[in-house]
C-alpha cells in the first residue's frame, strides 16, 4: 500500500540518481576494495581532471562479481583479482582497453599475467604475494616452510584463508607438486594434507589480520599487504615466503562493457600510472605497484623486503594462479569437502 508520498520520494531518489549520470558533470563510478587506495588519490584526480568520482568500496570480490553477473550496470571502473578478470573476460563482460592507454614500463614479472597476457582488458593495479604471517613472540625460530602451518604444537592457533586456490595450492606446494595441478591423484594427496591440517585450524577466513593482531592466531596463511597492515598495529608480526614456492597475484583495473563513462575510466588509469600517484597508494596500503619508475620512490622499508618488493631470487620462486578450466568444479568440491 504505497502512498503517494512514497511514490514522490521514490521518484525523487530515482531522479537524483539519474541526474547524477550524464548531465554536464563528467563522472566516474569507481568500485574498489576498501582501504585499497591512498587518502589523497581520488581528491587529487578530481581536482586535476574535473571528473567527479563516485567512489564505492567492497570487502569481497566474489560478492561484487555476483552482482555484476546478475547484470548490475553503472560501474565504470572496477579493481578485480586475476581469477575474476578471467571470469569476466570469459563472460565477455569487459571493455577492451584501447590505444588511449599510455602504458608505462612495468616491472618484468607483472608484464604478462596469465589471465590477460596481452593486457587487452586489464591494467595492473597493485600486486602482492601469499605467505605466512606469524607472531614472532609466540613462535620462535619459525622455519621458512609451509610445514609451519601443519605444526602440531600450534593447534587451534592457525588460520587458513577461505580461498580454495590459495589453501589447496599451498598444500600442493608443500608436497612439491604443481600448485595449479589438475591431476586427480595429486589433488587427492592435497586433500589428505588439508584434512590432516583441519584439526589445527582455528578458522577458515580471509579476515585473518584482526586475529593475528589480537594474538588469538599465531600463524596465518595470508597476503603480503594485509600482513604489513597487521604489523603496523602489532610489531611482533612477521612474514615468511616459504622456500617450497608461493603465489604471486596481481589485482587489475577493468572497465565493464556496460560502463556509462569508459573515457573517464581510461583517464583515471593513465593518471594511476604516474609514478608519484601509485607510489602514494603503495605507501598507504603496503601493496607494491607495477610501475617500474615508481619503485625507487616508495618508502624504503618496502624495498627488497618480502612484505613489499621481494628481491629477484625470491621472485623467481613465485607462481601465478593459472586457469584450471573445467576442473574449477573439482577444486570447488574438494574445498567444500575439506571445510565441511
Amino acid at each position: 500500500m504505497l502512498s503517494r508520498r512514497h511514490f514522490l520520494l521514490g521518484a525523487l531518489a530515482l531522479g537524483l540518481s539519474a541526474g547524477c549520470r550524464g548531465g554536464r558533470d563528467r563522472i566516474l563510478n569507481f568500485y574498489n576494495w576498501s582501504n585499497y587506495i591512498a587518502l589523497n588519490t581520488i581528491g587529487d584526480f578530481e581536482k586535476e581532471s574535473g571528473i567527479r568520482v563516485n567512489y564505492e568500496e567492497f570487502s569481497s570480490a566474489d560478492v561484487s562479481f555476483a552482482k555484476l553477473k546478475i547484470g548490475v550496470t553503472g560501474y565504470d571502473l572496477i579493481v578485480a583479482p586475476g581469477y575474476m578478470v578471467r571470469r569476466m573476460m570469459r563472460h565477455d563482460l569487459l571493455y577492451p582497453l584501447g590505444p588511449e592507454l599510455s602504458l608505462p614500463e612495468f616491472l618484468p614479472h607483472i608484464e604478462a599475467p596469465p589471465f590477460d597476457p596481452e593486457q587487452k582488458y586489464s591494467a595492473p593495479y597493485l600486486w602482492g604475494t601469499t605467505g605466512i604471517g606469524y607472531n614472532a613472540r609466540k613462535i620462535r625460530n619459525a622455519p621458512a616452510s609451509w610445514s609451519l602451518l601443519w605444526e602440531q604444537s600450534l593447534a587451534k592457533r592457525i588460520t587458513i584463508l577461505d580461498e580454495k586456490r590459495d589453501a589447496i595450492g599451498v598444500a600442493l606446494f608443500k608436497l612439491g607438486l604443481d600448485p595449479n595441478s589438475v591431476d586427480p591423484g595429486e589433488l587427492q594427496l592435497a586433500k589428505k594434507e588439508l584434512l590432516k591440517q583441519r584439526p589445527l585450524v582455528r578458522r577458515y577466513t580471509s579476515d585473518f589480520t584482526d586475529d593475528l593482531i589480537r594474538g588469538e592466531t599465531w600463524a596465518a596463511l595470508g597476503w603480503s599487504g594485509d600482513v604489513a597492515q597487521a604489523q603496523d598495529s602489532n610489531p611482533d608480526i612477521r612474514y615468511i615466503l616459504p622456500e617450497e614456492g608461493s603465489f604471486l597475484f596481481v589485482d587489475s583495473l577493468v572497465v565493464p562493457r556496460s560502463a556509462p563513462h569508459p573515457e573517464a575510466a581510461l583517464e583515471f588509469i593513465n593518471y594511476f600510472f604516474r609514478p608519484e600517484v601509485c607510489r602514494d597508494i603503495t605507501n598507504a596500503t603496503g601493496y607494491a605497484n607495477p610501475v617500474a619508475a615508481s619503485k625507487p620512490l616508495v618508502r624504503p622499508e618496502l624495498i627488497d623486503n618480502n612484505l613489499g618488493y621481494p628481491p629477484d631470487e625470491v621472485l623467481s620462486n613465485l607462481h601465478y594462479q593459472e586457469d584450471v578450466g573445467e576442473y574449477e568444479s573439482v577444486w570447488d568440491d574438494l574445498w567444500a569437502e575439506v571445510k565441511r
Binding site: 566474489d62 571470469r87 587451534k156 588469538e216 565441511r340
Partner: protein, 276 residues
C-alpha cells in the same frame, strides 16, 4: 465469519506476490537445472541438486544448525520472558523507556557488536580477566571459535525478537484477572501458572518462531565466532552462492530449508487453531 477479508489482505498479498514470491520463482527454477563449469545455468532439467542436498553427508550440518538455533532461541526466550514480564506488569510509566533501552543496542551494527564480543571473549579479554581474578580458573579459557561462542552470539542477537512478542501478549492481559485470583487466595506461583503463563503463550510461541526461524539461516555468528566444526547451513548456502557460484545447488539447499520451516509454521498454525 467465513468471508475472506479481501480488502484487509489485498495490500499485503499483492506486495508479497510481486516482491517475494515472483523473485523466489527464479530460485525454484534454478534449483532444477545444472550449472556449467563456467557458472552458466544449463537448459536441461535435473533433480541432481536435490539428490545432492538430501545426501546424508549434509545431515550433520543440518542437525547442528537446528541444535544451535534451537538452543539460542530457547535461551533467548528464557532470558527474555522475565524481562517482558517486568516491563509489562511492573514497570508502570517506565514501560517505553525499558522497551527502547532493550532495542537500543541493536541499532548499532551486528558486525561491530560481534567484534565487541570477540574482544570480550578473547584469551586476554575481559571475561578471562575477571575469571582469573576471581580465582575460578588458573589459565585463560579458549572461548572464541567454539560452539558456545556461536550460541552466545546467536542468543544475544535474538533476545529482542524473543522478548517483544511476549511483552506484547502480556501487556494486553487484563490485570484484573491477577487481582481477582489474588483475592481468591492464590499465591504468586499458582497465579503465574494458571493465569499469566497460559495467556502469554501466544507471545511465547511467536517469540520462539521469530527467533528460531531467522537463526536457522544465520551465517555471521558461525563465521566470526565459530571454528571449522561449527558451520551452519547458512554458511554452506553462502559458500555455494559466493564461493563456488553453484547457485542451483545453493537454491536447492535453501528451498529445502524454506520448506522445512514453512511446514513447521503450518503445524504451529494448526495447533493454534485447535486450541481455539
Amino acid at each position: 465469519m467465513r468471508k475472506t477479508p479481501w480488502k484487509l489482505l489485498a495490500p499485503f498479498l499483492i506486495f508479497e506476490l510481486v516482491f517475494i514470491v515472483a523473485p523466489l520463482c527464479s530460485v525454484i527454477w534454478q534449483s532444477f537445472h545444472p550449472v556449467s563449469p563456467d557458472y552458466e545455468i544449463l537448459p536441461q532439467w535435473t533433480l541432481d541438486n536435490y539428490r545432492k542436498a538430501l545426501d546424508s553427508s549434509y545431515l550433520p550440518i543440518l542437525g547442528r544448525t537446528f541444535l544451535y538455533a534451537g538452543c539460542a532461541s530457547l535461551a533467548a526466550l528464557i532470558l527474555g520472558y522475565p524481562v517482558a514480564y517486568y516491563i509489562a506488569l511492573k514497570a508502570g510509566r517506565r514501560k517505553n523507556l525499558f522497551l527502547i533501552l532493550l532495542m537500543l543496542p541493536f541499532w548499532t551494527s551486528y558486525l561491530i557488536r560481534t567484534y565487541a564480543w570477540m574482544t570480550l571473549l578473547q584469551t586476554d579479554g575481559l571475561l578471562n580477566y575477571c575469571l582469573l581474578q576471581l580465582g575460578l580458573i588458573s589459565e585463560p579459557l579458549q572461548l572464541l571459535n567454539t560452539p558456545g561462542a556461536v550460541i552466545l552470539g546467536l542468543t544475544y542477537g535474538f533476545i529482542p525478537f524473543a522478548t517483544l512478542p511476549i511483552f506484547v501478549s502480556l501487556e494486553q492481559m487484563d490485570k484484573r484477572l491477577i487481582d481477582a485470583a489474588r483475592d481468591l487466595g492464590a499465591n504468586d506461583f499458582s497465579i503465574f501458572k494458571e493465569v499469566v503463563w497460559p495467556l502469554s503463550l501466544p507471545g511465547v510461541l511467536a517469540g520462539g518462531l521469530l527467533s528460531f526461524v531467522p537463526a536457522l539461516g544465520d551465517f555471521v555468528a558461525a563465521e566470526l565466532l565459530g571454528g571449522p566444526d561449527d558451520q551452519m547451513i547458512g554458511n554452506l548456502i553462502q559458500q555455494q552462492y559466493l564461493g563456488s557460484f553453484n547457485w542451483p545447488f545453493g537454491s536447492a539447499l535453501s528451498l529445502l530449508l524454506i520448506v522445512l520451516m514453512t511446514a513447521g509454521v503450518i503445524a504451529y498454525a494448526r495447533v493454534e487453531g485447535d486450541e481455539k
